[in-house]
């Protein structure tokens, strides 16, 4: 909502903040439940819900393109991919030895603390003096209406100014897709399994 802050009434800003906080709380609850869930199908469905929630949060932060990607990839494709992987394994996660839990907890806490520490140095949210909003970013905002003539500056940057970069990213994603198909096996995408292939040979 940073771009529209100037035109909003204080009430609208407060309502947006409350919605953001509620979304973050729900995200936290879902994340804790995914970690505690032993039933793999439930974990897959919950991760889809997590993606939907974070997509809604991204929309409220004005990052609409990121939200699109999150909803399409997180809630759509990766749910189906994880189901495909789940069909090849057990339905339940094996219980983890309780002795390993504290180590994992310490590592997660340390990483989280490092991230929070790093975020202290970031410029304030929506600040006009932030490096991202000056120099080249300003240039893009000024040039896009004249040179590309699309309303969304991010689209212009991704598809035109950095077109080659996007093409390289597409190649990377294609390669990742190939790797996933190799891991799951082309048979699983078509419904075949190694076990069934043997039956067919007999």
């Amino acid at each position: 909502m940073s771009a529209a802050l100037a035109t909003q009434t204080p009430n609208a800003i407060a309502a947006g903040l409350v919605i953001d906080l509620a979304l973050l709380t729900l995200l936290f609850i879902v994340a804790v439940n995914i970690a505690r869930q032993r039933h793999l199908f439930a974990a897959v469905m919950l991760s889809g819900i997590y993606s939907l929630l974070s997509a809604a949060f991204f929309v409220s932060l004005d990052a609409v393109d990121v939200a699109f990607t999150e909803a399409a990839v997180g809630a759509g494709i990766s749910t189906v991919l994880m189901l495909g992987g789940m069909l090849l394994t057990a339905r339940r996660e094996k219980p983890v030895s309780p002795r390993r839990a504290p180590v994992a907890f310490i590592v997660v806490t340390l990483v989280g603390a490092a991230l929070v520490y790093a975020s202290v140095d970031m410029p304030p949210f929506g600040s006009a003096d932030a490096p991202a909003n000056r120099y080249i970013g300003e240039e893009y905002v000024q040039r896009t209406p004249k040179e590309i003539a699309v309303p969304n500056v991010v689209t212009a940057v991704l598809a035109s100014y950095r077109g080659f970069d996007t093409m390289g990213e597409t190649t990377v994603i294609f390669t990742a897709g190939l790797a996933v198909i190799l891991l799951l096996g082309i048979g699983s995408a078509r419904g075949g399994r190694a076990v069934r292939d043997k039956e067919e040979e007999e």
Partner: protein
């Protein structure tokens, strides 16, 4: 404005209820349905958020989410019935033991 804020609060409460069902389960269809209705609530919340922020252009995005949510639910259900996506919807299920509501299969 107050109406939209109240609508957002109601939607968040409904999301929390759908979440509770997704956590508790117990059957597979409970969870699929909880995920699907959670997606619907997200679509509605994005629409309401657009009006709260004074920019109803977000409605287009909400529409696209509705489409995605629908396709994803169909894909999940189809995957559980046929164990694959490359198969017509009218075909016989390949694995009879995996009925759509058996969340506790081997």
């Amino acid at each position: 404005m107050i109406m939209f804020a109240a609508a957002a609060a109601a939607l968040l409460a409904a999301m929390a209820l759908a979440l509770a069902r997704a956590f508790a389960g117990p059957s597979l269809s409970d969870r699929v349905l909880a995920g699907n209705s959670f997606g619907t609530k997200t679509v509605l919340l994005i629409g309401v958020m657009g009006f709260v922020a004074g920019r109803p252009d977000f409605l287009d995005i909400a529409l696209l989410y509705a489409l995605l949510n629908f396709v994803a639910t169909i894909a999940i259900l189809k995957f559980f019935r046929y164990r694959t996506l490359a198969r017509g919807l009218g075909a016989e299920p390949e694995f009879k033991e995996a009925a759509p509501n058996s969340g506790e299969a081997p």
